[in-house]
Symmetry: C2
Subunit: 215 residues, 2 copies
């Protein structure tokens, strides 16, 4: 077994706490003093475990990613593209506004550092968001092959569109929008969703505008 004095804290627990600080104040606004106070450990312990403030941030982002993975897996497992899109936006609307008493409103990956003196932080967050976009895109490529997206649909563009709507909802959530308001936005966003022709015998492959009539 590993020798030496054992750690007195649980890594995931302190990361969850650090997450809320970065989330609420942004990377640069989060001071080591507040981080250590909230995490319940002293600065030397923090640096021994995570190396630096940026190291802590990256570990925090990884932790956030892990926590969101369950949600994404559920979303991607839906039986067709439109359901994937709906579950994704409804899910974002839910957890971005409903803090479940623990997280701040909005989305960590949008809020904690879009602009920063250290450029690494916005880049790391962009990479995180790009990962989500990629998952959606690959799912939609599959959907297109399987026929529940029309051949004219562009999986990449659809994934980007969903990410844009989701990130926009997060911006609104950070300013106090309610889940109900965000769900209304999600509903409007999904009205644009392309559906495969109902009868495949019909050889017309145009982007269906039929759903655009809804309000």
């Amino acid at each position: 077994m590993r020798t030496g004095r054992p750690r007195s804290f649980c890594t995931d627990t302190v990361l969850d706490r650090a997450l809320t600080v970065f989330w609420r104040h942004g990377y640069e606004g989060a001071s080591i003093a507040e981080l250590t106070a909230t995490m319940g450990i002293n600065a030397p312990s923090l640096y021994a475990a995570f190396g630096s403030k940026e190291g802590l941030f990256r570990a925090t982002l990884k932790r956030y990613d892990d926590r969101r993975k369950v949600f994404m897996d559920e979303v991607l497992a839906a039986t067709n593209a439109k359901t994937v899109a709906r579950l994704f936006l409804e899910g974002v609307a839910g957890f971005a506004a409903d803090t479940n008493g623990r997280d701040p409103p909005g989305c960590f990956s949008v809020q904690s550092g879009l602009s920063c003196t250290e450029q690494d932080i916005p880049e790391a967050l962009a990479k995180y968001r790009a990962g989500k976009e990629r998952l959606l895109r690959e799912r939609f490529e599959r959907a297109r092959k399987e026929g529940d997206l029309p051949k004219s649909a562009a999986p990449l563009a659809l994934a980007r569109y969903l990410m844009a709507v989701a990130n926009g909802m997060c911006v609104q959530a950070s300013a106090g929008s309610s889940t109900r308001e965000l769900l209304a936005t999600a509903k409007l966003a999904l009205a644009a969703w392309p559906v495969a022709d109902e009868a495949k015998s019909k050889r017309r492959n145009v982007r269906p505008r039929a759903t655009a009539a809804r309000a």
Copy 2:
């Protein structure tokens, strides 16, 4: 005439320069040292003119608002709701990604301080965004009365939806998306736009689909 030594700088010019610093680094990431260096004035001049870092930021936001007002006026002057929506999203796609060699990518109101230690900053930015949402909503209320939006359409929800898409595009722009990519997103977003039903349109002499063909 006003006595005393005259100011050696133009307020709008130094605000434009301060704008880029806040934009690139965020409110907390922007140091007085870099601000004064970029603005080309010394700290005492900055504090005499704007009071504090927060005062400077608010003046900068006001300046940004003034610069964007021309664009919003153009958008709102369009002849029907769908054109308003299209011009708005296309405009955002344009200036968020194309920096015209001066501004950083993205949108100042999203980038400079979603999360902050001083809560006033996110609030001020939220108020700015709410103002844009209000302009769109009022325009759509008028459009609904005039008949180029169906009675079933909700002006507020449509305004929020557009703001969400716009803000989401800004997030993507800050991470390096091109104008072309953002325009694709805008196009998808507009596919959801409600149109007045044709019978009513004919009867009221409105042509909601006239411009809808363009991308």
